[in-house]
Amino acid sequence: MNLWKEFTKGFIKENPVFIMALGLCPTLAVTSSVENAIGMGLAATFVLTCSNIIISLVKDLIPSKIRIPCFIVVIASFVTIVDLVMNAYTPEIHKSLGLFIPLIVVNCIILGRAEAFASKNKVLPSILDGLGMGLGFTLALVVIGSIREVLGAGQWLGMNVMPMAYIKSPMLVAILAPGAFIIMGLLMGLIKLVNKGK
């Protein structure tokens, strides 16, 4: 089941965030709540899958010297589509993600998969690779977002999950910038520890 492997490798084994440490900027910036994390993850998954499709279709037409600018134009076009669609249908998430929607263009995961996978493989594996990596990215965002929202606000997806006394004075640092760095560091250490123990 080779195709199935292409799809699932992005979840744990080659998780773009935790294992390969790609796309760190959006990972830390948008995970102050689970809702934002899901929005960002799905937007990036869409761009990743679509750009993988187009790039694997036109890979033989592009001279290898100018392939990077070509990839960037393809990616930027899909980012513009996502930007406009989100502005129209989910204006609140669009507003809170703000700057980081246009910045999907420079997310290293997307250019990385285009260069490392889509430019060498056929369409179907590229679609599965894009979907898998995108969902792995979403998974990582949701994990970090959950920890930060529960610790920092006592809520999960807007629902109260901690006792009232905690919600009134939560560990605010977790949703501020320093908490993002520290939680990310501890999570990466934990994953390294688990992988070593195997």
Partner: protein, 195 residues
């Protein structure tokens, strides 16, 4: 407010209060990736200051004189990233021809900068915040300085860290993130500044 005070305020806010790395999470990849040695951190910082200032200048001009008059604002993302990519290429060629010694110092970092989100970030922020031409250039310059400051500080910390005893699992990237968190905590103190 006099002109000098305005520039000073802009500088303090761009370098300390709204530091690109520690409060806006822009440019994390080079911040974690190129901060193992002070030498390379300084080189990367210089290259980023240079490219961010140039990119702010050109993208502001493109927005004002090309996109807005033709009602093409929705092409902003594509236009800006292409501008930055070609700018980096151009800068690389010019430096290689005119200042080979500078090219040797910056050379390896220049191609990396295209995908540094701080450069695209500052270009888009300049437009969003409605800076005028001079403001956009200065914002690019000061944001680049702020980036370099934390990059070099981080490199200094990590050089020391090499010699200290860190738990096996936390070595390398995990401990770098925790340290970055402590730095962000320190920089959070600047947000109390008022002018």
């Amino acid at each position: 407010m006099s002109f000098i005070t305005q520039i000073f305020t802009l500088a303090v806010f761009a370098i300390f209060v709204n530091n690109f790395v520690l409060s806006k999470f822009l440019g994390l990849c080079p911040y974690i990736g190129v901060s193992k040695k002070i030498d390379s951190a300084v080189g990367m910082g210089m290259a980023v200051i240079f490219v961010m200032t140039m990119a702010s200048t050109f993208t502001w001009l493109i927005q004002e004189y090309l996109l807005v008059p033709n009602h093409l604002e929705y092409l902003q993302t594509i236009a800006f990233i292409l501008t930055i990519a070609s700018l980096v290429q151009l800068v690389e060629m010019v430096i290689q021809k005119t200042a080979p010694s500078l090219y040797k110092a910056l050379g390896v970092f220049l191609p990396l900068i295209t995908t540094n989100c701080a450069v695209l970030g500052v270009s888009i922020l300049n437009i969003q915040e409605n800076y005028n031409f001079l403001g956009a250039i200065l914002n690019g310059l000061f944001s680049g300085l702020g980036f370099t400051l934390v990059l070099v500080l981080m490199a200094g910390l990590r050089e020391r860290l090499e010699k200290s005893e860190v738990p096996e699992a936390m070595k390398g990237m995990p401990i770098a993130f925790v340290i970055a968190g402590c730095m962000a905590l320190a920089f959070l103190g600047f947000s109390g500044l008022n002018f």
